[in-house]
Amino acid sequence: MSSIPLNPGAIGTGGRTRARENYLNIKHTVSSWLLTADHKRIAVLYMISISVMFLFGGVAAAGIRIALVRPHDTFFSSETYNKLFSAHGIIMVFFFLVPSIPATLGNFLLPIMIGARDLAFPRLNLLSWYLYMFGAVLVMGAILFGGIDTGWTFYEPYSSVYSNTNVVAVIVGVFIAGFSSIATGINFLVTVHKMRAPGLTWFRLPLFVWAMYATSIIIVLGTPVVAITLLMVVLERVFGVCVFNPACGGDPILFEHLFWFYSHPAVYIMILPSMGIISEVIACFARKRIFGYEFVAFSSMAIALLGFLVWGHHMFVTGESMYSGMVFSLITFLIAVPSAIKVFNWSATLYKGNVWLTSPLVFAIGFILLFTIGGLTGLFLASLAVDVHLNMTYFVVAHFHYVMVGGAIFGYMAGLHFWWPKITGRMYPEGWAMLSAFIMFIGFNLTFFPQFILGFDGMPRRYHFYPPEFQMWNILSSAGSSVLAVGMIIPGIYFLWSLRYGALAPSNPWGAKGLEWTIPSPPPSHNFDNVPIVTEDAYAYEAIYAAELAGDYSHVEAPIPLGAEAEYSSPAEPSKLPNSSEERQ
């Protein structure tokens, strides 16, 4: 074991990445992918799967926006419309947002960031992907052949007694996918606890790892509860047992309690990983240690733990006791504080930085802005009296899309752009990335800002038909959604393009700190030749900062133009050369 240089730096060494064996070109057979235990390959498998699911969910969303252009839509029947929004919610929540960052970027980066060769349980990791796929296929089958019309919340007694759609198949699919995220959560918890490289103390961990750790706690504690709750809905449908059905003395409100016990923390499963990404991206491109590292780290933990105590704020109008409403509201206001801490710390990090405006940073800034709005509008809904008016209206829809799309997806995009060179070994076209960031930002606000106003106007959510005076806002929203769609299709195209035509990525294209930037792009299968020994805190950008202010940018490695890799490949490693000419997939 030896301490490895944190910046291989010069192109001469970084450029050798192309010539060497890496996790992508080590084997090319299908079975080498489907039976892999390599966390990086599983991350790629996940990335492909969730992208496909995102596409399905996006198509459903497009259907919803088409229907809502007219107050009395005739394009879809009400049954179809209900199935569309249910499909959109179920796919996006359980099959995109929950696994999105943990299972892709988290899977890929967590072991590398802590200097490990793999996750603690590589085969469990692969099992998690298979469970996810099994659940996804089941749910997509159920949705395409018949559909489900309960909404993603599966409220009783509608879901158990009244709905005539494929509730059982969908719930079983969601149940199975739940175990996939439990497997990921267990893996991450154990890995972070037990597999950190020597010298990597808790307070030297990158904040992304802190975020993944907090996320995993929520997954491990919350998912089983919703799994068993949904299982009982299935038992009610299949065997006619009585648990929540009011016809036999059951309490549908108990279902809501158990459902939201998971499903509110699940919101933090979606947003915490994004927050971790933002911390990485901001620190890197500001060339500064993140402002108030400990506060940001602990705020993640505070959010994870407090997140379990606020579920009742979904139920202020259901008839739960007034006093429990007051307690839940109070805790909800308190949980806003750690989020505010994060936002201010990110902003303060940029102060006196040497800010390199790249597309990941633009996405990150977009995240902070939209998340700020999303978070603050959450306070409207936490306010008891205001919630009486706004609950179950489009205000709620707008609020959680600001957090989920503006937050989670912008964070995911920031992370994807930041680590794309590391994952694929290719650079994407920066100009297009900037353009898509701006288009997404504009399209997003155009889509969802009108929905705040619609909600305050009183338009209930899940409405196929609505009073005509709401039409203009809905048209605006639908128009915005097409802009947003364009903003999301562009990255899809240039990412795919970059796989073949992109310039080759050096080890450290951003001049960033962190263990993942010390190894080649794409990383070798075993990540590290020698286990790294960590001797400094996370985000130790002081030297780079000083160098840049002195005009020295040598730590930023330039991409290698396609076709020029031969001149960079090192003759010192002849044994690796046979692989060097192979094109990656």
């Binding site: 009400s78 409220y155 009783e156 007694p157 509608y158 007694v161 009244y162 709905s163 016809a247 549908p252 409100i253 500001a286 500064k288 240690r289 402002f291 108030g292 590292y293 506060f295 202020f316 109008v317 008839g319 007051m326 509201s329 109070l330 206001f333 504080v337 505010a340 201010f344 902003s347 303060a348 940029l350 102060y351 006196k352 930085g353 040497n354 800010v355 405006l357 902070i368 802005l369 700020t372 603050l376 306070l379 306010s383 008891l384 009296a385 205001v386 009486v388 008016h389 609950n391 179950m392 209206t393 106007d457 009183g458 209930p460 899940r462 409405y463 609505y466 005076e469 709401f470 202010l549």
Partner: protein, 357 residues
């Protein structure tokens, strides 16, 4: 081109809720503005290569952290306390002069019963401006949500359990009524209107017996009284306690001791259970002989609507002011004949009709 930015305001809650709402809007604008300004100014001013002072870059400051933790927290607590006040009113106890309205939600319609006039309506609710009303609601099937944006009022309408809400409409007009909890295929068509009428118009409307064929001249108390006979309740629950059961006189609102040792206040939900499932909470000291009435429309069953009528009647017996009325009712009950004031044709239960969907 119509871009409405807020709903009409037509209840005593609307202004106080709007005040909190717009305060929150202001706070949102201020905080988003601060964050936007910080992000844009810092990332432009300190962008790579600019020649600005970067002396002593800081990576943490306890006082800054405390500032931006404590200020938002105090603001949050202020809003929290402020918003809890109207909330505790909306779902709290109504004023004693509030008139009662019973609401039955079913897929996909709303059925209202005015307790004092007996008028029934479907998907429409007529109210008098300035008069407090208490709505007691129940669902016949899945969870619905009673939502009137102009009143800033929402309450989930649950199966098997009464939920209440009260308000005072204060502006004449016609307002949307929505179902806010997803209830199936025609969820978005489970809508209607709330009409807030001037006192004259309301009196006129009431004198006409409502606006359509659902009109009904018997009050819910009167209907409840007739049902009390029809179902034979009177045999055991007479003017005085007897060996079979307690009298209903003066019962409502009191606290009773139950056979299982617990005690309970006699309210709507208690009576509901006592009628459909008497053994669940029997008052201590009486034998368990009552077998209860099924909820439904068949023979020997009782509809949700009639259940509300019965409760309304029993409630009136518990009210000291109406004690004489109930005594009179009892007198007519012993005569075992419908009085002339209660023509039988009015006993047609429209809720029962509506059930055949």
């Amino acid at each position: 081109m119509n871009f409405p930015i807020m709903p009409q305001t037509a209840s005593n809650y609307a202004v106080s809720i709007d005040d909190i709402y717009f305060t929150l809007v202001a706070l949102t604008v201020i905080f988003t503005g601060i964050v936007t300004l910080m992000l844009l100014v810092f990332s432009v001013r300190y962008r790579r290569g600019t020649k600005v002072s970067r002396k002593n870059p800081s990576t943490g400051n306890l006082y800054m952290e405390l500032t931006w933790s404590i200020i938002p927290m105090l603001l949050g607590l202020w809003i929290y306390g402020w918003s809890a006040i109207p909330y505790s009113k909306i779902y709290g106890d109504p004023p004693s002069n509030a008139s009662e309205i019973y609401l039955i939600g079913k897929r996909w319609m709303w059925h209202f019963q005015h307790a004092n006039s007996g008028i029934r309506e479907n998907n429409e609710l007529h109210l008098e401006v300035g008069k407090a009303v208490k709505v007691t609601m129940i669902s016949q099937d899945v969870i619905h949500g009673f939502y009137v944006p102009a009143l800033r009022l929402k309450r989930d309408c649950l199966p098997g359990r009464y939920n209440t809400v009260w308000f005072r409409p204060n502006k004449v007009g016609k307002y949307y009524l929505f179902c806010s909890e997803y209830c199936g295929t025609n969820h978005s068509e489970m809508t209607g209107y709330v009409y807030v009428l001037s006192p004259q118009d309301y009196a006129q409307w009431k004198a006409n017996g409502g606006s359509e064929h659902l009109a009904h001249t018997l009050t819910t108390v009167e209907i409840g009284h007739d049902l009390f006979e029809k179902y034979g309740c009177i045999q055991c629950h007479g003017a005085q306690d007897n060996v079979h059961g307690p009298t209903m006189n003066g019962l409502y609102g009191t606290t009773v001791k139950l056979s299982n040792g617990q005690s309970s206040t006699v309210d709507d939900n208690f009576l509901r259970t006592a009628i459909i499932n008497p053994q669940a909470q029997r008052i201590a000291g009486w034998p368990a002989v009552m077998s209860g009435f099924p909820v439904g429309s068949g023979d020997g069953q009782i509809s949700e609507e009639n259940l509300l009528d019965l409760i309304s009647y029993i409630k009136s017996l518990g009210n000291a002011q109406q004690a004489t009325v109930s005594a009179a009712a009892k007198a007519s009950a012993t005569a075992a004949a419908p009085s002339a004031a209660h023509p039988p044709k009015h006993h047609v239960s429209l809720a029962t009709k509506g059930q055949s969907r």
